[in-house]
Each structure stands twice: as C-alpha cells, then as structure tokens.
Amino acid sequence: MKKIILFVLTFALALCTFSACGAPDEDTVNIYLPDGAPALALVSIFDRTEIAGQKVKFTIVPSDYISSAVTNGEADLAIVPTNLAANLYNKNMGYKFVSANTHGNLYVVGKSDLNSFADLKGKRVGVIGQGQVPDLVFRSLLVREGIEYETSDTPIDGKVAISYVAAAANLFPSLNADKIEFGVFAEPAVATALSKVEGTKIAMDLQQQWGGGYPQAGLVAKNEIDDAFIKGLFDALREDPDFAENDPTQALELIKACMRESTQTVIAKLDADIVARCNIKLVPAEECKDKVIEFLSALGELAPNAIGGKVPDDNFFRIVK
C-alpha cells in the first residue's frame, strides 16, 4: 500500500513539474515590458490579441528580468533602457532600436527644496541601481555641473555622498529616518515616496535639468520581425496616445492583467499626474536618432561598458516606412 501511495505521489509531482513547461506558441509575437513606467508605454494596446494580422502577447516582467528576456530570445520585441538597446546591438544579439517610448521619469525627492545641484553638496543622496540609467543620468548631471561626488553612507564636506540601493523600496525607510536627505526616484516610485514618507516633495526634475528630457527607454525588435508588424504596432499606439493619462484606473488594471505569472506590479497607484511625470510618448527611431546618440554618448563617457563599449552606428536604428 505504501509503495502505491509513494508511486502516486511521485507521479503527481512529476506531472506538476512538467505542466509548468508550456511550449511557446511559434505564431505569437511576444512583447516584453519591464514593470513600472515602461509598462505604460504600450498600455493602450494591451487588450489587443492581434496586430497587423499576427497574434500578439504582452508580458510585463520585473524590471531586472528584462535583460534576460532579450538575451535568451524569449522576447520578439521589448521595451528596454536605451543603454541596454545599444549593448544588445553592439554585441550582435539580433535586436535593433525602433522607437523611444519613455523620455525620462527621474526625480530627486526630499524634505527640503533644491535650487541647484550645488545645494546637494554635503548631503547624502540615495540612488537606485548602481551603473543603471538613473545612476548614470544623475552622475552625468553632477559632472556637467562640476559637482564632485563619492560613494558613501555618511555626508562629505563639499561633495555629494551617493548611497546605492537595489530598489526604490529600500530608499523609503532611509528617507523617512533621515539617513539620506534626498533620493533619486523613478516615477511611479516618486508617487509612493510622496505618500509614504511624510514631508517629502519633488525637489528636482532631472528631465528639466537635462534640457527637456532624454530617451530613457525604447522598443527593440528582433531582426526577423517584419516591418509591417512594427508599423501596425505604431498605428495602434497612435490611436489613443493619451489613454493612460485619461484612464489611469483602467491602465493599472491592464498592467496587472499582463503581469507575468506569480508576479505583482510595483505600481501602487496611478493617476493622471503620475502618468504625466512618466513622459510616455512614441517617437520612431528616425525622429529621435540625434537625441539617442547624444544620450548614449553622455552615458558612455561615464561608463563605456553601460552602452556596450561604443556609441552604436547608424544601423542601430531600424527605420520603419
């Protein structure tokens, strides 16, 4: 009897294990998006099951999984940070940049005002993702303003002390307990910081400091994806570009529905102001080339490896007619 029970249990366990291995549908175009602001870039078409006559599936994954989704080939198209797009191209991974979709969503949040970067001297600033876009943009601006910085958990006279964390959630308690004076947050985490940490406000808009935004993240497509599909995707997006701003509640529901199994979105709430601060706008590659090159050059000066060693050439941009 014991042997039979053991056999049945083993069989059931094996069945459970194999049931998790669903075969991918070859005919479906898989589009991956990182959770957070980039997910808003395509939210208006999340309810579509077909674009340009092809089946389509949108999957939102935790932001640190997005690079794996493209390197292992799961994603046919994906919204990725612009530096990752350059990296993929420079390493011949078979993806090209088709459009810029988010144009900066980084803000310095703190309990006091900031008139200029010079006010950050002698202060501790928490920054998410060492070596990632938020960190590189912030440091690039500091360099541009001639402000010295150092990695430190304690304040340094005449310099900005940067303290790194993996995720915005780790900055909230530090800001609350005054262990840091300011934090560099990406919206929609800005909204969470403002609601969770008493007395905080947006002290600086890094997009303004950059000179009117920068192509922070964009859509990359596998070389095998045909132009007709990408054109169809653009046309669908242009039908209702302000969808998320006009109906943030529905947008959040759609994001929740597209989250990868067993994951939850980091977006706690969404309203028109939050969406506006995410600076979502579809700009095809041919229209944002110069800005992308300028942005990548600035990041590359600080960390060449972040963009794959060099600013990509013209072939990086896929122009869809």
Binding site: N87, G131, D153, S163, Y164, V165, A166, P173
Partner: protein
C-alpha cells in the same frame, strides 16, 4: 611518511586533467550552442579584471566583510558553545534560538536588513547570522566531548574557570575549532558575495557581478565567479595545510 614522486605527480596531474576536460567540454558546448561565453574570452576577461584597481578594491572590501562575518559568528558561536557545555540551562535556552536562526531564509534576512542598515553592514551581518548556527552546531559536541576526567582533575587542582578554559577546553577543542574555521571562512566569502549582489553594495565583488550582468558582459561575470571560486579554494587549501601542520601529533 614522505610522498613518492609518482604520488606528487598524481596529485598535480589529476586536478589539471579534470580542469582541462572541463574546459574542453565547455568549448564543445559553446560550438554546439553558439553561445558567446568562451573559455578563451573568459580568461581574457579575467586578465583584464586583474589589471583593474576597481576589482582589487572590490575584492579587498568583500574579503574584509567576509572576515568580519566569519570572526563575529565564530567568536559568538564558540562562547555560546562553551557556555552551553558548562550549563544545561543555557543549552536548553539556546536550542530553540539556534533552530530559529538556522531556519531564517538568507534572502529574507538580506531584504529585511537593507531596509534598516547600510548595505555594507547588511552583507557582513547576513554572513554572521547564517554562519553562527553552523559553527554552534559543530562546536557544541566538541565542547561537550571534553574529557570529564580532565575537568575533574582541573577542579581538584583548584583551576579557576579561565584556567579550565585555557588548559582544558581550548586544547581539547582545537582540532574541531581549526576545521570549522577553515570551512567557515570560504563559506563566509560565498555568503557575503550573494548578499552583496542583492544589497548592491558599493565597492564589492557582488556589485561588480550585478553590473556585469546588467551590461551583458557574461565573460566578465564568469571571470568574477572564477575569482571568487579561486579564493575559496585557496582559503580551503591553505587552511587545511595549516590545520594539518598545527594538529599533527608531535
């Protein structure tokens, strides 16, 4: 007994052969799968790493954190094991505490600590919490196994607690202390690196691994992993030789 030349040659030949076969298998896998992470590229990345100041500073700080975690957990475990050996009440009180600490999921501990502590302190403390129950579990039987006869003789001779510790407990426990110290130190390095990856600790091997992953530098990532493996193997080998030399019967 001295090793013969053949035995020494075998000691060198076997590990080198295994390494070469592993590298060949890796290269064949690269040819079949078309993956870009080749053994040659990885060794080139390792060479580049060794020439970088950032690597050495990261490595130094990682080792320092590992030493902290190891030292703290080892001393606490040794003191508590001695107290438990001397008192059944202490042993009974500590038993559930150690069980709970041992059951704590490492990643959960990191996530909780990075909310309240600087990331550097978090990594060292995580190492301490994970290592402590292991050391305690290994040292307690050793402390309990100290000869009752020796303890009684020391009492008859009027030895105080400190003298009993110095002349009875520590010499009896020396082999166990040394063995656990060796295996614990390399485990501490591994734990601290894992915690650094999650806590994004500045100036650390873990953070360099995280950055290499984000920048799609797979060969650099593997090279960093090799450097950690090499240090752990080195600690094990040097430590074991030291233990053998120190504990060799006179």
């Amino acid at each position: 007994m001295k090793k013969t030349r053949i035995e020494i040659a075998k000691d060198i030949l076997y590990p080198v052969s295994v390494l070469l076969v592993a590298l060949l298998a890796w290269q064949i896998a690269v040819w079949i799968s078309g993956d870009r992470t080749t053994p040659v590229g990885t060794f080139a990345a390792l060479g580049e790493l060794l020439g970088e100041g950032e690597f050495w500073s990261g490595f130094g700080f990682t080792l320092l954190r590992a030493l902290w975690a190891f030292g703290l957990s080892f001393i606490v475990a040794l003191v508590l094991a001695l107290c438990s050996a001397g008192s059944e009440t202490v042993r009974r009180i500590l038993s559930p505490v150690v069980t709970v600490v041992r059951s704590l999921p490492t990643m959960a501990v990191v996530l909780i600590f990075i909310l309240v502590l600087p990331s550097s302190a978090t990594t060292a403390l995580v190492g301490t919490i994970v290592l402590f129950p292991t050391f305690y579990a290994a040292l307690l039987p050793s402390a309990l196994g100290v000869s009752r006869d020796l303890l009684e003789i020391s009492l008859v001779c009027g030895a105080n607690k400190l003298q009993r510790l110095r002349f009875v407990y520590l010499p009896s426990m020396a082999p166990s202390i040394a063995e656990n110290a060796v295996s614990g130190l390399s485990l501490s390095v591994k734990l601290v690196v894992s915690a650094e990856v999650l806590a994004q600790t500045a100036k650390s091997i873990g953070m360099m691994m995280q950055t290499a992953r984000a920048y799609l530098e797979t060969e650099r990532l593997v090279a960093l992993t090799f450097s950690v493996v090499f240090v752990c193997v080195l600690i094990d080998a040097v430590g074991k030789s030291l233990v053998n030399a120190l504990c060799k019967p006179q």
